[in-house]
């Protein structure tokens, strides 16, 4: 008897959905086993996650608050992943975006809300784009591995943020906490519906629509998809991959930078150390789970947001490290990756 994998001619949409759902279920089971081995009751842990994320209207709004930056950054990395350029630096790009927005508030405060917010957004977009553009340029010109440069730039951005909030920008009245003074009122994105959800959510819907059109309805999107699928074919068709890398990285970083600005302007109202809670990395999972479809990423981001809210509940309610939620994230990715095999192949058992 031997196992044989046979390529499927086509894999219908319902099967993609079923394998993904089954993979996530298996991942949660494996995570439960791991929690159990660590002396944590998996039922209690999952109940805590579900309750904290979906328990009430307020909880749902908090999940949306977490999902918002995730969804925006996932749009950012999705663009680069489509052409198989691995921008792992959404985290750093969001950080420098927030940093730039905070710099504008600090040095060029204006009273008019629209003017202030657009200046902040502009600064954030350029800072994020520049940060990712460095990696894009190094790749285009000298073929420097973008996975490593974007990652190293994450660490550098983190230190840069620390430098400012511990040093020159620290609020003297913050009792030693590493944070800046609260932003002026004009620099705050308004909250909506009496929750902590802010106007960034409109920007998210707009960006999602734009990305959906850009990726699937324009020549630009078509070209970067071809480059991702078959770089050689793209070259023969006369597409200039290297020139596109810089552009794609810039746009990608710009979107992530905007997400960073939304976080500080809409949610925290000041710049503080460790504000981003690894959104940049989780966004990568969101992008992959949504099969690089912008509209789908909205739903996936919401579910991942639930996991982040749940992670906090585990920390506060059960005294587990915040990073515990990462176990589930990693496992979900493992199982979804494995599940993709069964979407593309049919496993047959041959006798003899």
């Amino acid at each position: 008897m031997r196992l044989r994998a046979e390529k499927r001619i086509d894999s219908p949409a319902w099967m993609t959905f079923m394998t993904t759902a089954l993979s996530v279920l298996l991942a949660l089971t494996a995570g439960g086993v791991f929690l159990y081995l660590q002396g944590v009751s998996p039922f209690a842990a999952y109940a805590a996650i579900l309750k904290s994320a979906f328990g009430s209207g307020y909880d749902l709004s908090e999940t949306a608050v977490k999902a918002l930056p995730l969804a925006i950054v996932s749009l950012a990395v999705m663009l680069s992943f489509t052409m198989l350029v691995w921008n792992i630096g959404g985290e750093g790009q969001a950080l420098v975006g927030a940093l730039a927005a905070a710099a504008v508030v600090r040095y060029f405060p204006v009273g008019s809300k629209p003017a202030m917010l657009s200046m902040m957004a502009l600064a954030a977009v350029f800072a994020g784009g520049f940060w990712a553009g460095i990696a894009g340029l190094l790749k285009a010109k000298w073929n420097v591995n973008e996975i490593i440069t974007t990652l190293m730039l994450n660490y550098i951005a983190m230190r840069l943020l620390e430098y400012f909030v511990y040093g020159p920008w620290r609020d003297p009245s913050s009792l030693g906490f590493p944070m800046t003074k609260p932003f002026i009122a004009a620099a705050r994105l308004p909250s909506l519906w009496g929750t902590r959800i802010h106007m960034g959510i409109y920007a998210l819907f707009f960006l999602t629509a734009v990305m959906e059109i850009l990726l699937w309805r324009t020549r630009f999107g078509y070209e970067i998809r071809v480059m991702g699928d078959n770089a050689r074919a793209a070259r023969y068709a006369g597409m200039d991959c290297m020139k596109k890398v810089v552009g794609v990285m810039f746009i990608s970083g710009a979107i992530a930078g905007f997400a960073g600005m939304c976080e500080v302007s809409g949610l925290q109202g000041r710049l503080q150390s460790g504000f981003s809670a690894q959104y940049g990395y989780t966004a990568i999972i969101v992008a992959w789970l949504s099969h690089l479809r912008p509209s789908l990423s909205l739903i996936i981001a919401f579910l991942m947001g639930a996991l982040l809210v749940g992670g906090e509940a585990l920390q506060i309610g059960m005294g587990l490290p915040m990073a515990s939620a990462q176990i589930l994230q990693g496992l979900i990715l493992f199982f979804v990756l494995g599940g993709e095999f069964f979407q593309n192949y049919r496993v047959r058992i041959d006798a003899g």
């Binding site: 994998a5 944590v40 190293m152 493992f334």
Partner: protein
């Protein structure tokens, strides 16, 4: 020289975790598999090494346990990337997240504890050599083992039959398969051993270097090791150079901080990451053709016999 000497001694020690991780990744990549989960594997190695040293009462037990845990994680990566042909970049990211989270959860009760760890042991006679005796031969046995590993790997990869089989699996799996080599088996083997070495690098940090465990203690060293593989153009000897260079920068910035330099600490802490980018740029821009020539030709590409033309 007398004042610089301690910096060099410390540079070798602080470069050793990176060296183990880089060597492990070279072995894996030479066989054609790209494992980007180094950061997660190092963290799991650091935790299991620490915990096993504590319970087993000996640092050697800790190091062995770390290798075993790393090998198991390597097996997961091999199954996904060799058998199921998954995207290896995403798989590596998954490993990074899983390793970071799992080590944080499982290690929560070890925070604040210390172990005696592995002491240094000067090699008789040659440690008395001027300068190099202090720098290279007054360290601990894990450092000496890493020297041996560098030369062993040089010899193994280029002068032995199994080493050539390994490279064939990474450069031209189709031809290797036609020669009757078990490509999948070879890739499995070196992904597992490679990940074991990566975990040893992590364990060096908790068992030898710091003698404690802290959440996220590798602080990006796994990713730096991925960069060092390219800097080393897949050459173990050059990997040692890269690792010690990194160790030197790390030591330098720590000394500056300790000496109360006027440059703020966060800016100094950027240096190792900045240097990694610069070093990578230097090698890619200056020796770009050499990088593309030395890279295993089938790196990261799954191989299935059934898809032979």
């Amino acid at each position: 020289m007398e004042t610089l000497l301690p910096i060099f001694v410390a540079a070798v020690r602080s470069g050793t975790p990176i060296l183990y991780a880089t060597l492990g990744e070279i072995l894996t990549e030479k066989a054609g598999v790209m494992n980007l989960g180094l950061e997660g594997i190092m963290l799991m190695g650091a935790l299991s090494g620490f915990a096993a040293s504590l319970w087993g009462g000996s640092p050697l037990i800790g190091l062995a346990a770390a290798f075993a845990v790393g090998a198991c994680l390597g097996l997961i990566h091999a199954f996904l990337s060799v058998t199921l042909g998954s995207n290896q970049v995403v798989c590596g990211l998954a490993m990074t997240m899983f390793g970071g989270g799992a080590s944080a959860l499982a290690g929560r009760s070890y925070i604040g504890m210390t172990i005696p760890g592995l002491d240094s042991w000067s090699i008789p006679v040659i440690s008395k050599l001027p300068v190099i005796g202090r720098i290279f031969f007054s360290q601990d046995i894990m450092v000496y083992a890493s020297f041996a590993l560098v030369f062993l790997m040089m010899f193994f990869l280029h002068r032995t039959r199994p080493g050539m089989n390994l490279r064939a699996a990474g450069d031209n799996p189709k031809a290797a398969d036609a020669m009757g080599l078990p490509v999948a088996g070879i890739r499995y083997l070196y992904t597992v051993i490679g990940a074991g070495l990566v975990a040893l690098g992590g364990a060096y940090m908790s068992v030898v270097y710091n003698k404690f465990w802290a959440e996220g203690m590798t602080a990006g060293r796994g990713w730096i090791a991925v960069a060092m593989v390219i800097f080393a153009i897949w050459n173990p000897l050059q990997a040692a150079l890269g690792a010690y260079l990194f160790g030197g920068v790390e030591t330098f910035q720590l000394r500056l901080q300790a000496a109360g330099a006027r440059v703020p600490a966060p800016l100094l802490m950027m240096l190792p990451y900045l240097m990694t980018i610069l070093v990578l740029l230097f090698i890619s821009a200056g020796k770009g053709h050499k990088v593309s020539l030395s890279a295993p030709a089938a790196l990261g590409i799954p191989f299935y016999r059934e898809e032979r033309e």
